[in-house]
């Protein structure tokens, strides 16, 4: 894996899924000293936390912190309320019930808090606004507004430091994300994307996350085959 030597610290959100694993690999390839942050927030697919640990062990980081918070006490999402079914009939053009209210805002503000303690002014999040479920907190305009808020919220911001939120995947297709990850040596067998895996980590193959992942690998394979044929 290519490494630069900026030695700047970065806090990277790592869920254990395909996108965040790629994001971590990109941050590392850009020379950042990476501090991984994962959340045990009462998600039904908590097995992803084991995947997060495998991913950071594999890619290599300075520290991996897990924060516990009971978003399931708030509910309002199929991912945090077992009474709400995870949709399995394919992507729609509506924001789906797997949307967790304010999740990325919560995760990014906690990342911001840790970043400030570390004197790390770079946050990385693997949001994607192309092959995605339509979550509002994955859009570039949200990220820009968050960044502005972060620099007003913090002592470091007042003192003239600038927090930057890096979203290296935001304009990539899922196939392009996979291509970049493979180029950087990401082992995707360590990751899990499914919203409702079995306790042992077997994916359901029919939820939106499974479909986006499978379509991404298919599109990546097609692109390789096209290149080979050309």
């Amino acid at each position: 894996m290519t490494t630069h030597t900026t030695n700047d610290k970065a806090v990277v959100l790592v869920s254990g899924g395909l996108d965040s694993a790629t994001t971590l690999a990109i941050a590392k390839s850009q020379g950042y000293a990476c501090y991984a942050l994962s959340f045990d927030y009462g998600q039904r697919h908590r097995v992803e936390l084991q995947a997060a640990r495998r991913v950071t062990d594999s890619i290599g980081i300075v520290e991996h912190k897990f924060i516990h918070l009971n978003l399931d006490s708030i509910g309002g999402s199929a991912l945090t309320d077992s009474q709400i079914q995870v949709p399995t009939s394919g992507l729609s053009d509506q924001i789906p019930v797997t949307y967790v209210p304010a999740r990325n805002s919560v995760f990014l503000t906690l990342a911001l808090g840790w970043a400030e303690v570390l004197s790390a002014y770079h946050l990385f999040i693997g949001v994607n606004a192309i092959d995605y479920s339509g979550y509002p907190d994955c859009r570039p305009e949200f990220i820009a507004a968050f960044e502005q808020m972060a620099n007003l919220a913090t002592k470091a911001g007042v003192e003239g430091h600038h927090f930057k939120v890096h979203t290296p995947l935001i304009h990539l297709t899922k196939a392009q994300i996979i291509q970049e990850g493979l180029r950087l040596g990401v082992d995707y067998s360590l990751t899990i994307s499914c919203y409702q895996p079995t306790p042992s980590g077997k994916a359901c193959s029919v939820c939106d996350a499974c479909r986006l992942r499978a379509d991404g690998f298919q599109a990546y394979e097609n692109s390789i085959n096209t290149e080979t044929k050309a």
Copy 2:
């Protein structure tokens, strides 16, 4: 206590201190159906959570939710790291070590998540930018940036609802806050402001929060005496 009948729902951050008790009383007096939110975030003055419960019992709310999250695992503040001493020599013009990195951002994003689940579009927070410790996340410019972010972060925002962050104390002196609270019937003996109280809830009287509170009551008393003499 005056009550209007808007019947709109509001999520109110309640710490158990003087400011948030007054804020809750104001929200209630404006006719909101109040949902109180408190945080057990590893603060050394966790006894304030009992005060929060007393305050909401006294003023009257629809529901009181407590969210646990281990901000002490992040540290970086005298309030969450027992290795860092709470300053007791009086207010300075620096942002003090009691500043908890990104605390209000974290609290407000969690309030936002709950608000979205409740279809509540009003958030109340008792920040104050006059008699305060200089925390950056108490300033009007932070609140405005947060509001903008909140409306881009959420499904409700996308669907045309507008989240508003109410800060009824932001331009009041501590004496004016007390005056308003007393007018609304707040029982301040139920509240605690101290950063390092004894386990039984006895205030230290020398931390910034104790000083601001005592100075506020003194100023309020002086203003009454002046009015009486006039």
